[in-house]
Amino acid sequence: MSLPPIEEIYPGIRSRYNERVYSVFEPDVHGPPSLISKQIIVQNYCPKISVTSTRIVDAVASSLGLGTFLELLGYFEHSLIQQDAGSNSVGAGTPPLRLNVRFFKPLQEQLKEQEQSLKLRRGSSGGTGGTGSSMATLSGSGFLNQKFTSTELYSLTVLDNYVNDYIKTIDSRIKKCQMEDTSGSKLDVTLLHNSIYLNFLTKLISSTTVSPFECFNHPIIQLFVISATDDIDTVRDLLIGWKNYDFPNWIDLESILELVLIIVDKDVPEDLQKGLRLQEELKLAMGIKSSITPIYIPKEMDQTTETITLFPPMYAHVDDDLARVGNNTGNSIHIPKNTFEVLFVQLQEIIYKTMIPYMEKKIRIWTEEVVTPRKSFTGRFFSASKKWGASSSSSSSASSASTTKKSFFSFGSSSNEKEEASSSSSFNSSEGYYNATSQEMTIRRLGDWHLMLRDYKGSFTTYELIKKDFIGDKAYAYLSSLQEFMIISLLIGASNKLNPLDRLPSSSTTTGGITTKIITDVINPLVDSTYYSYLSRCNLKTYTIRLTLITAELFFALGQSTAMIFNSNKSPNLHLVSPDTYYNESLKLFKKLLDSKLLDTSPNAKLMERIACIYHNYDKPLISPPMEKSESSYYETENANKLSEPDLCNLGRSRNRKAMMWLLLAAKELDPVSKPIQVQILVRCIESNLLSDNSNSLWLYREDGLLSKLKQSLEG
C-alpha cells in the first residue's frame, strides 16, 4: 500500500519556492536551508483580513465539511503562498508580484479572547500577579504607571505540547518511510525531519494576538461575507455590530477597509437576482459597495465531481492546530474544483485590485500628512521646540493632556496648536498606550504597511522617525517592538540584495549585505536593548523568543547567501563580508535563546540542532579549484609516518566536529526513550560525520561517553 504524500503532514514541504531553494542547496538532514526559514519569516508579516460571516454563509462552508466560512478561507492561504515563488522586487513602492494574506477571526472575538487569557494570567499569578510585582521593582523608571495591557503571542506550554505532538506524527511517518527504504523515501525522511524545525519556527513567530504596539495583526480589511438569501436586517445588524463595538483606543478603525462579499448559489437561478437586489439595497440604505461571487455549492459530493485538495493554513494559531488534531478532522480537505477556482479568483481580486491599491493610497496619504512634515527642516525645528516646551509639563504629569505650557519656541505654530498639544501627550501613560490616531502610531502603522508590502528600506526609515518619541515617552513595549522591526527590515533588506536564487548583476560593484560595522554599531546594541526591554521591562517572553529567533535566522540566511554568492561569483567587484561573521552572530543569538531557558526541552533540542546545522554549513559550499595532483614520491607512498597533505583550500573552514557535539547535545535533550526515531536520526548523522572524518574516533565511543550511552539506550 502506498503512503499518502508527505504534503498531508506539512503542506509547504515541496512548494515551488522550496523546490527552487533545493535546486541550489541540497536537502540535508542537518536542517533546512536558511532561505526557506527566511521565506517563512517574510510571509509571516503579510496583510491580514478579518472575516465575519452570516449563518447562511457558514452553512455553505459546512456543506464542504467545515465549521465556518473563515475556516474555508483559511484553506486558501496555502494556495496563495504557493503562488509566491520568491522573486524579489526590491524597488521602493513597487508591490511584490505575489503576496499572501492571512484570514483572522473578527476583531471583537479576538479581543475578547485576549481579555480572557489576560485575566487568567493575572489570576494565575495571584491577584495583581507577577506583573504587579515587576511593576513594583521598576518604580521610578516610568514603567510604574504602565498598566499591563498586552497579551503574549501564544502559550508556551501549549507550544511545547504542540511540538511534541508534531514530532510524534513525523516519527510515525518516518518509521513507515524507513521500512520502504528507497531513495525517494530517504529524501522524504530528510524533508520530514526538516519540517519539524520549519513548523516550530512558524509557530514561534506567528500569532493572531492583536497588540497595541504593533499593527501586523490589525486587519487591513474587514470582510463581511453574506449570502444572497440573507435579508437586509441581518446584514445591517452585522455591520452596525462591528461599527458600534467598543474597540480600545489603540485600534484605528479608519484604516480598516470594510468590504462586503455576497455569495450567490450558481445552481439557483433566482439567487443572482436576490444578490443584485441586496447589493442595490446595501448601496442605497447604507452606502456600502459590495461584490457578488456566484459559487457552486455542492449539495452532495459524488465520485464524479472533480475536486481539489486544500491544506490547512500554515500560520494557524497553535490552539487552532491542536483543536484540529483533537477533532480528528484530518489535515486536507477536498472541495469541488469549480468552487475553488471562483473563490480563488475572487480572493485574488480582493488582494491585488482592492487591498494593495488601498494600502498604497493610504501609504501615500500618511507619508504626505505625517512623514514629510517631520522630515522637513521646519518640521524638525518645531518638533524640537515642542520637546523643549512640553518637557516641563510632561515631567510633572504626563497624563494631563490639556496642560501644555506654551514655550518660546512654539511661535508660528498657532494654526496647528490644538493638534500639537494633543500629539505632544499622545501617550496615555496611565494606561500605557498611544492613541491610534496619534502621529506616532500613524507612522508606526505606515512602517508596518511598508514591511507588509515588502519595502524594507521604506519601513526602516519610517521606523527611525519615531524611535526618539518612544524613548522620550518611556513607552518600552512600543520601543522594543519598533526596534525589533528595525532589525528585521535591515536584515531582510540586506539579504534580499544577496539572493542566490536571483541572478546578480555581474558588471556593477556588489556591496550587498551589511558590514561588520553596522552589525557591531547598530544591530547588536539594538538586539541587546530590545531583548532586555522585552524580557525585563515588559515581561513578554514570547516576543523575546520571536526577536531572538528571527534575528538569528536572518543572520544565518545572510551568511548562507553570501557563501553561495562568493562561490559562484568570482568577480573582483564583489565586496562582501565573510559569511563567518554572520554565522557567528547567528550562533551567538541561538545560544542566547538557549541560555535564556524560555523554552522547554523539545524546542530547545530543535534549537541545538539548528546550531549544529549552522556549524555544519560553515565550509559549504566547498572551495574546490582544480588541484593538480603531483605524482606521489616514494616518501609519500611508502612512509606511513609522512604527514598527509590536507585539502589546503578548505583547511580550517569546517566546523563539523562542533556540529557533531551540538547534535549529540540535541539528541540527549530529545531523550532516546520518548523520541527514539529522532535520536536515531541524529546519532546516524553524527556517525556519518565521524566516518567522513579521517581521524580515529574510538575515543568518542567511550563507554561512559554520551554517544555510546545513547546508542545503548536505542538498542535496548
Partner: protein
C-alpha cells in the same frame, strides 16, 4: 577546579589523556567534573580542534588561551613543531601563565618520549614514567 588534559596526535587522535584536579587552594588533586560535562568531555575537546585548525595558520603563536569555551569550560591549546596538539579543558580562571608553563614542560617531556626508539609517532603513550612526570608537573603548575 578540574583539568582535562590530552595530547592529540598529528592525525587528530588522542595519544595521552589525563583528568586531574588542582592541588592549589587546598585541593586534593581529584577531578570533579559534573556528569554532564564528563560525558561529553571528549566531544568538547574534539570540537575545539576545528577552531585550532582554523587559527593555527593565521597566527604564529603556539600557545592559545581561550581557544574555545563551552559553558564555563575554557580550552587552552599548545602546538608542537610536529603539529601535535596539547589541549586542556578547565573551569579554572586566570591560570593562563601557569598553563603555558605546564605546556612548555610537557613539550619537553613529549619530545624526549619521541626520541625513544621504541615509540612511533601517533602511538598512544603508555609509559608509566611519562604519566607520573605529567602528574608531577600538573601538581606543580595546575
Amino acid at each position: 577546579m578540574s583539568y582535562y588534559f590530552t595530547i592529540i596526535g598529528t592525525n587528530d587522535t588522542p595519544i595521552y589523556e589525563l583528568e586531574i584536579g588542582t592541588y592549589k587552594q587546598s585541593g586534593d588533586g581529584k577531578p570533579n567534573f559534573p556528569i554532564e560535562i564528563k560525558e561529553i568531555q571528549q566531544f568538547i575537546v574534539n570540537a575545539s580542534l576545528d577552531i585550532l585548525q582554523d587559527v593555527q595558520f593565521k597566527s604564529n603563536q603556539i600557545f592559545t588561551k581561550n581557544l574555545d569555551s563551552f559553558y564555563g569550560y575554557q580550552i587552552y591549546s599548545f602546538l608542537t613543531q610536529g603539529n601535535c596538539k596539547f589541549l586542556i579543558s578547565t573551569n579554572a580562571k586566570n591560570h593562563d601563565e601557569s598553563i603555558r608553563q605546564f605546556f612548555i614542560e610537557i613539550n619537553e617531556l613529549y619530545v624526549k618520549n619521541l626520541l625513544s626508539p621504541f615509540y612511533n609517532l601517533n602511538d598512544p603513550i603508555r609509559s608509566t614514567g611519562f604519566d607520573s612526570r605529567v602528574r608531577m608537573l600538573a601538581k606543580k603548575y595546575l
